[in-house]
């Protein structure tokens, strides 16, 4: 109450009216933020300190869930390795591929919107549908890819049935669905003023120099954006590994969210699942922070941004 009377003196009656009106308009978000973000965030922190199977009331354990995960659960470290492998390869590689495709499309290409459309569509097709096709395509016995390999007398690839191949295979599927990043990059590239390229050419810059010294710096904020968004999505990849490999073979594609889902909704270990969720949350936050910090060194913000 005291705080609010202090504020009365700070704001004019008009500002008060504006504040009230503004809050009325954004109130759906404020309520949603409290109900669907803040409350779950805090309650999952609480559940992560308990054993809870939904049937009996939660039993308080302290940090036991975390301690067990870190020190007494080799499976957890395996899941962590799988996830970091998947994120560490698919995100940088995916962003690089998307950036290169966008650069190709940004040069004067005949039928640009056709190419762009074909590359974009896989990213909006239902993941369930694309998982079905990829499972079929990558099948060892009757998959089209191995059918083609066999026809040419090449060795077949056990895409989804070999622990060494399963992760790269899922990364391939993820990169296939990178079309949105391509479109974002292409839009950014089209915003780079032509005059800069012309000026660089006049100064004797070759293609690589122009790419390195004009294209990359001017689109670096978008590279940052795609890296971070890609990271957040890749850490939480679920549908494709769940449908394609169900975490197998030999747990080689048991990624973080697959593991979390299993614990929460198959084994009903809500406490352990919440601890897993909080660990993931902290990992994602720290990765994001590190990338943002490093971005000061490699991201170029022009005068107007």
């Amino acid at each position: 109450m005291a705080a609010s009377t202090q504020k009365v003196s700070r704001y004019t009656p008009q500002e008060w009216r504006n504040l009230r009106l503004g809050l009325i308009f954004v109130s759906p978000w404020v309520l949603g933020f409290l109900i669907f973000t803040i409350y779950p965030l805090l309650s999952s922190l609480y559940y992560s300190l308990t054993r809870y199977d939904l049937l009996r009331p939660p039993v308080f354990l302290g940090v036991k869930n975390y301690a067990t995960l870190f020190f007494d659960d080799p499976h957890f470290w395996n899941v962590m390795y799988n996830t970091l492998y998947y994120v560490g390869v698919s995100v940088p590689f995916g962003v690089a591929v998307a950036f290169l495709i966008a650069n190709l499309l940004n040069s004067d290409v005949v039928g640009r919107s056709f190419f762009r459309g074909v590359i974009y569509v896989p990213s909006i097709v239902p993941a369930v549908a694309s998982a079905m096709v990829w499972q079929f395509l990558m099948n060892v016995q009757y998959g089209a890819i191995n059918g083609i390999l066999r026809y040419f007398g090449l060795p077949i690839i056990p895409f989804l049935s070999n622990p060494g191949w399963a992760k790269p295979s899922l990364i391939l599927v993820a990169i296939w669905a990178q079309g949105a990043a391509v479109v974002i990059f292409l839009a950014a590239l089209q915003d780079v003023p032509r005059s800069l390229y012309e000026a660089a050419t006049v100064d004797g810059a070759n293609l690589w120099h122009r790419f390195r010294n004009v294209t990359v710096p001017l689109t670096s904020p978008i590279i940052l954006f795609n890296l971070i968004m890609g990271l957040i999505v890749a850490f939480q990849e679920f549908t494709v590994p769940w449908l394609l490999t169900e975490g197998g073979p030999m747990n080689s594609t048991e990624f973080y969210l697959v593991h979390l889902y299993r614990n929460a909704f198959e084994y009903l270990r809500m406490g352990k699942a919440s601890a897993l969720a909080w660990i993931l949350f902290l990992i994602i936050v720290s990765f994001t922070v590190v990338i943002f910090r490093s971005s000061a060194r490699w991201v170029y913000y022009g005068g107007d941004k």
Partner: protein, 304 residues
């Protein structure tokens, strides 16, 4: 401009050599460009082509080496037969009536109001609060998944679509963000004139701003439609009763049946046929609204 002219004047002699080398370079570059782009595009298109072409085959055309690229004779009846193996019409009704439509309507309506408050009204603390909205865009949904499930279970909402559509009433940060970007581009005088005429803020939003931002509404409605139509994890968590399944869970169910070899023949063609039918609304919408899609995606990134 002047520098180009001066460069041409200073070095006239080697110009011919320079130019022919350059022409070669340009030719090679053009060639390399398409030599990369065309195979790349074919590989991007191939899986979906394979889905559609396999949907038109029978088992004897599926299990062949080399794979049959152009199926003949084709079996379009797979689309009907595959659809009838499980109650896909009911799944489609569930997807549309109980999930997609309410999710789109609720999200767009609530997010419009919220975005208006964050862009066309001036009030103390607005930008700080908007910063929070942007932060929640980056919040991993995995953290809220478990406690929300517990809450919705406690409310007795399991096996209903309420956990999936009720949150849409409270706006979506990403869509608020997009709409705000659009609202900000409209001149302030527009609102001021209406305010002087005594219009309320809700009146200004619905009578002046919204008619001017129809393309933006189309963009966000399209994206929300996409998320709901494609959602798999949400229904997987909340829906157990098969009668309430949306299409995404129906496809998974069909794949389980089809993978038990011997259950019925043409399992893969049927699975591909139904997957095609479920992906089709998306592909067709993209075909007709390509510009809307591209515009929406581009605006997303351009803020950085």
């Amino acid at each position: 401009m002047t520098s180009i002219a001066s460069e041409n004047r200073t070095a006239p002699a080697p110009k011919y050599h320079y130019d022919s080398g350059r022409r070669w370079q340009t030719f090679l570059l053009e060639f390399a460009k398409y030599a990369i782009l065309i195979p790349l595009t074919i590989s991007f298109a191939f899986p979906l082509y394979w889905m559609i072409s396999s949907a038109l085959k029978v088992d004897s055309q599926v299990f062949t080496v080399p794979p049959i690229l152009l199926p003949y004779p084709i079996h379009p009846e797979n689309f009907i037969k595959g659809w009838q193996i499980l109650p896909f019409t009911r799944y489609a009704v569930n997807s549309v009536v109980f999930y997609t439509v309410p999710a789109v309507v609720f999200t767009v309506l609530s997010s419009t109001i919220v975005a208006y408050g964050f862009s066309r009204l001036r009030w103390p603390g607005r930008d700080t609060m908007f910063w929070l909205v942007v932060m929640t865009m980056m919040l991993p949904w995995a953290v809220t998944m478990v406690p929300l499930f517990i809450t919705f279970k406690w409310l007795g909402w399991l096996d209903t679509y309420r956990p999936l559509v009720v949150p849409a009433l409270f706006s979506h940060p990403y869509i608020v963000f997009l709409l705000r970007q659009f609202f900000m581009t409209l001149p302030e005088e527009l609102s001021d004139a209406a305010r002087i005429d005594g219009a309320s803020e809700f009146g200004i939003l619905f009578r002046i701003i919204l008619p001017l931002t129809k393309p933006a509404l189309a963009v966000v409605a399209l994206f929300r439609f996409l998320w709901a139509w494609n959602d798999y994890l949400g229904p997987l968590i909340y829906l157990r009763d098969e009668n309430r399944y949306p299409l995404a869970l129906g496809i998974e169910q069909l794949s389980r049946r089809a993978n038990d070899i011997g259950n019925f023949s043409n399992g893969i063609p049927y699975l591909m046929a139904v997957s095609t039918l479920v992906a089709l609304p998306i592909i067709v919408t993209f075909f007709f609204a390509q510009r809307t899609f591209i515009e929406g995606i581009s605006v997303t990134g351009l803020k950085g």
